[in-house]
């Protein structure tokens, strides 16, 4: 079973990394979520000692007090939280990209050159317009 899972992990991981290297920011995010999925699978499989997958769910039967012969519950707990966090992160990045797209009009990450603008013709870094939007707000607040 772990061999099949390994194939899945390799495929998902590769695709995720490939997407991460793309110019399209949406692809980047899907790449992150794929890498996250592959990570979850790796964590999940880390409980399969010597590659042997126990598929009995780790629930103690009502009449028993000790769990036996069940899957290792630890990776389950780890993955469970990782999934929720991964979701929050993907949402965060989606909204982030949406706002970027709203401002720059495309999902092309090569156009993200506002914080790191190209050099000028003399090979010197461009002067960033360093009046921050809240600068004037702060000034106005001081004024009154």
């Amino acid at each position: 079973m772990i061999w099949w899972l390994a194939v899945g992990v390799a495929a998902t991981m590769s695709a995720g990394i490939y997407l991460l290297l793309c110019r399209d920011m949406l692809r980047c995010i899907i790449g992150i979520s794929l890498v996250g999925a592959a990570t979850n699978l790796v964590v999940f499989a880390s409980g399969w000692t010597r590659g042997h997958a126990v598929t009995t769910p780790p629930f103690v039967p009502d009449d028993a007090t000790v769990l036996s012969g069940a899957a290792n519950p630890v990776p389950h707990a780890l993955v469970l939280t990782a999934i929720v966090i991964g979701f929050a992160l993907v949402c965060l990045s989606l909204v982030l990209v949406l706002e970027i797209v709203q401002q720059q009009g495309s999902t092309d990450s090569d156009q993200l050159r506002d914080a790191e603008p190209p050099m000028d013709e003399h090979g010197k870094p461009a002067i960033l317009d360093d009046v921050s939007p809240w600068d004037d707000v702060a000034r106005a607040e001081r004024a009154d």
Binding site: F59, D62, A88
Partner: protein, 153 residues
């Protein structure tokens, strides 16, 4: 009886959706609480219960708008989330109060005449998890649904 307007292609707010959302919202919240409560012994718990509640919030958001859905989250999403985390935290603080380490869960059997109810600090902890998951992910989903609300704005 003459209708006031000519026939429309599609009404903007589907009656089926709003009616079923009104019916399903409490049911789904009940289910989520049930899943939360049984979580210690059956599949479920705060995380899963919370995500089911998130589904309810999403349903409400899509039927009545994001603002309305966020308004239906008790205390508002940020306060419920913070409150949930603080609740989980405070459940852990009871341990040190009786000389046990932080996050030690205490179990007390409440002896009623008819039956004994086991009370524990696990419940507030899981309840806190549930609240925060609901508030956080619910806020995310509702806000996301709200992204597309200009037709109604």
């Amino acid at each position: 009886m003459t209708p006031p307007t000519p026939p429309t292609p599609l009404t903007p707010r589907p009656l089926v959706l709003t009616t079923s959302a009104r019916a399903l919202y409490p049911i789904m919240l009940l289910i989520s609480v049930w899943v939360l409560l049984r979580g210690h012994n059956q599949p479920g718990g705060g995380f899963i219960g919370g995500t089911i509640a998130v589904a309810a919030t999403s349903l409400w958001a899509v039927a009545f708008g994001a603002k309305d859905a966020l308004g239906r989250i008790p205390l508002g999403p940020v306060r419920l989330g913070a409150g949930g985390a603080l609740l989980a935290l405070s459940s852990g603080v009871l341990g040190p109060l009786v000389g046990r380490p932080f996050l030690t869960h205490l179990w007390v059997d409440l002896d009623l005449a008819v039956t004994t109810i086991p009370l524990s600090t696990v419940l507030p902890f899981d309840l806190g998890v549930y609240a925060t998951v609901w508030a956080s992910l619910g806020a995310i989903c509702a806000h996301a649904i709200g992204l597309d609300e200009e037709a109604e704005a």
